[in-house]
């Protein structure tokens, strides 16, 4: 089991500062520390089998007034695009989406960049706002930015994506 590093912990802190009440996720090794930490804090959650399923569940929860976040890996946005555009955007369901990035420095997978590198542009083409957090940003920035994205999504009644850079837990030990 991978533990959250200081930045991933700060992301979780930003969400608990916000008062997160539920999260919906699709499993990912990079996001696992965030998912496990939120779960350990007792935040109710749903594991979805596909990204569009997660959009539906998170959007439904949002309509009941819950503070909901969605967590996934950026290569899953291809599955989620129609659901994001025709439901989450069109029905004004405001929830933050936290997606770990793949395909960058430290990547071990030879092909995942083929979707991950284009994910931000695909989302922006749908008028979905995309923010980014990198490993050069301080934990304090991670905490305040994740909190701000969550608040803004609710205020603007639309999904907003926070892409966060996170090396594979196995790669972080390579010198």
């Amino acid at each position: 089991m991978k533990e959250a590093n200081s930045r991933l912990s700060a992301l979780v802190d930003g969400l608990t500062d916000w008062g997160i009440e539920y999260f919906v996720y699709v499993p990912s090794s990079h996001s696992a520390p965030v998912i496990r930490k939120l779960d350990a804090l007792g935040v109710p959650n749903v594991m979805a089998n596909r990204e569009e399923e997660a959009v539906g569940i998170a959007g439904g929860l949002t309509l009941t007034g819950k503070k909901v976040a969605m967590i996934l890996q950026d290569n899953g946005f291809g599955n989620a695009l129609t659901a994001l555009a025709t439901f989450a955007q069109s029905y004004h369901t405001g929830f933050p989406i936290f997606a770990n990035t793949r395909g960058g420095l430290g990547e071990y997978n030879s092909m995942i960049h083929s979707i991950s590198e284009s994910a931000p542009d695909l989302l922006k083409k749908l008028n979905i706002r995309v923010e980014e957090l990198g490993i050069s940003d301080s934990p304090e920035v991670w905490r305040s930015s994740s909190n701000a994205v969550a608040k803004l999504a609710v205020i603007q009644r639309r999904p907003i994506v926070m892409m966060f850079e996170s090396l594979h837990p196995g790669m972080e030990t390579i010198k």
Binding site: Y22, G56, G60, L61, L63, T64, T86, F87, S90, Y91
Partner: protein, 184 residues
């Protein structure tokens, strides 16, 4: 039973409870029967109806209804496993099964050759199957205080009701009305 007859009964039996309605002819025909703030008709998002209903049921303490179609359910079939895993007892999913994509030129759906209710049963979900309005109503009323999620598969006739106009509502308005219904 025609879809319009089934929808008329479903509108009545779910009363003022939240009700998510799948896209295409189902949403249009329901709008021709009743337009309520507690109704959340989907204007697209095929395959997402039951997922949205699950989210609403997890966030709401009262009974929640979903009207899905066989084609739409097949498009997001993985939701059945998620339903079983989380099994909110306040959620009743009614699948109107005509064995076709009635809104897509009435092409046959795979429900015409596979047993989708049997698949749901195989996942361990509580399932009822019926072919008439009175049995459908009876099952919904009986499962309104159930101990797990309910799935009711209802066989309906092929085709759509004639002369039902396109449903041109603003989804943002449908959504804000639906949200407002929780506080009223």
């Amino acid at each position: 039973m025609k879809r319009l007859e089934a929808l008329t009964v479903l509108n009545d039996v779910f009363g003022s409870d939240p009700l998510v309605i799948t896209c295409g002819a189902s949403a249009r025909e329901m709008a021709s029967i009743a337009r309520k703030k507690t109704h959340l008709p989907l204007l697209d998002s095929m395959g997402l109806t039951t997922s949205i209903g699950l989210g609403i049921a997890l966030g709401h303490s009262g009974r929640v209804g979903v009207i899905d179609g066989d084609g739409s359910l097949l498009m997001g079939f993985s939701i059945l496993a998620t339903l079983k895993a989380y099994a909110p007892k306040n959620l009743i999913v009614v699948v109107l099964d005509n064995g076709q994509h009635a809104s897509a030129d009435q092409m046959l759906s795979q429900a015409s050759v596979v047993d989708i209710a049997g698949a749901a049963k195989g996942l361990g979900l509580w399932v009822a199957e019926c072919e008439n309005a009175s049995d459908m109503k009876k099952h919904i009323e009986a499962r309104s205080h159930a101990d797990s999620v309910s799935m009711i598969f209802v066989k309906i006739e092929h085709g759509n009701t004639a002369n039902i106009p396109f449903y041109l509502a603003d989804p943002a308005k449908l959504s804000s009305d639906f949200v407002e219904s929780f506080s009223s």
